[in-house]
Symmetry: C2
Subunit: 215 residues, 2 copies
């Protein structure tokens, strides 16, 4: 398992290398002090896993991860001491599958490397909790389910009309797009209003968006 370590702090680089190198199944093939340097290093050493610090001067860990994953098929494990929803989300979105607190036990460090290398994900318990809470609380979820359920109760043509309303079309544009008379489009929308139990077309648009049906 070929690994590179990216951190602006010399002590961290040395410590991580010191933990991983003695292991028979992991070899640290290089260290870098910044994002740009890491990308250069990855090009030449072709690592399986990159241990990446997030806060670094210059190109930060998130940018570096994005750039790195665009050109290699390495896996990335983020290392940091911050555990805000915001940061975790941005890092995972950049493509990292591992997330470690810097005070992690040596065993966990090696385990994280091996876990992401075989295609699974490894997050520290603290980060896992942050992620779980984000998914669990996901406000507006109930509202979305309700809107989706209402949308599913529409007929095919009512759905078409509703989507066009959400896209900002006028009644006559809807009639044109659906190849029907103006009065027909209006009748469909009256039905949609009834079924959604709303007052006007604006709320139809809001419901369609909430149901995730705006294309």
């Amino acid at each position: 398992m070929r690994v590179i370590v990216v951190d602006d702090d010399f002590l961290v680089r040395a410590a991580v290398k010191g933990i991983l190198d003695p292991r028979a199944d992991i070899e640290v093939v290089g260290v870098a002090a910044g994002g740009a340097e890491a990308i250069e290093l990855a090009r030449t050493t072709r690592p399986d896993v990159v241990l990446m610090d997030i806060q670094m001067p210059g190109m930060d860990g998130i940018e570096a991860t994005r750039a790195l994953l665009a050109m290699t098929d390495a896996e990335v494990v983020a290392m940091t001491s911050i555990a805000t929803t915001e940061t975790v989300e941005r890092m995972l979105r950049a493509g990292a599958y591992g997330y470690l607190l810097k005070d992690t036990a040596p065993d966990a460090l090696a385990e994280a490397v091996l876990t992401v290398a075989r295609g699974d994900a490894f997050l520290s318990p603290r980060h896992t909790r942050v992620l779980v809470e984000r998914v669990a609380s996901d406000s507006g979820h109930a509202a979305h389910r309700h809107a989706a359920a209402l949308f599913a109760m529409l007929t095919d043509r009512e759905r078409d009309a509703a989507r066009l309303v959400a896209a900002g079309a006028t009644d006559s544009e809807i009639a044109l797009a659906m190849h029907v008379a103006l009065s027909t489009a209006k009748t469909h929308l009256q039905q949609v209003k009834l079924k959604f139990a709303v007052r006007n077309r604006t709320q139809i648009g809001v419901m369609v968006e909430r149901a995730g049906e705006t294309p």
Copy 2:
């Protein structure tokens, strides 16, 4: 650490008890074969952690978790062999902070119990990956960011007006609610339309909903 084990399979109950009981820091204070039985057991034994199977006849693990967390302050670790986004999400939403594959190593089982007991989350690497991918791919995210950025560019009063539009108010109702003249409400909405670069109020409503600003 007081633990109860809930599973409809006698062999699983015995195996889990056999793994956890020998440990000095964990005591299995009861086992149950179903959801209803588990709730009864939790009432009498007051466990710290409940290991809960998801697929059970009668009351399933998700329902049981919801009911159980409503009446005790125990933590729940789900046990299952399925790892679909759907199931993981429903279980986490029900309030579980642990999620194990049934073929988990004995060490991981005990670690999961201890991790959730101290308030963190523990997911098997496979489930962690499912969760990470859900967060990372989250379609519509870019659209949401864009809408939120546009919304942030509005002035205070324009924001108020925009929210009221999304709620389905007419111009005169907006004027009333904001204690301004009809023409003022219209002027604000003209500005909003300009800044959002949209054609009509329906699209204003859609953008406000997309930005997550509908109260």
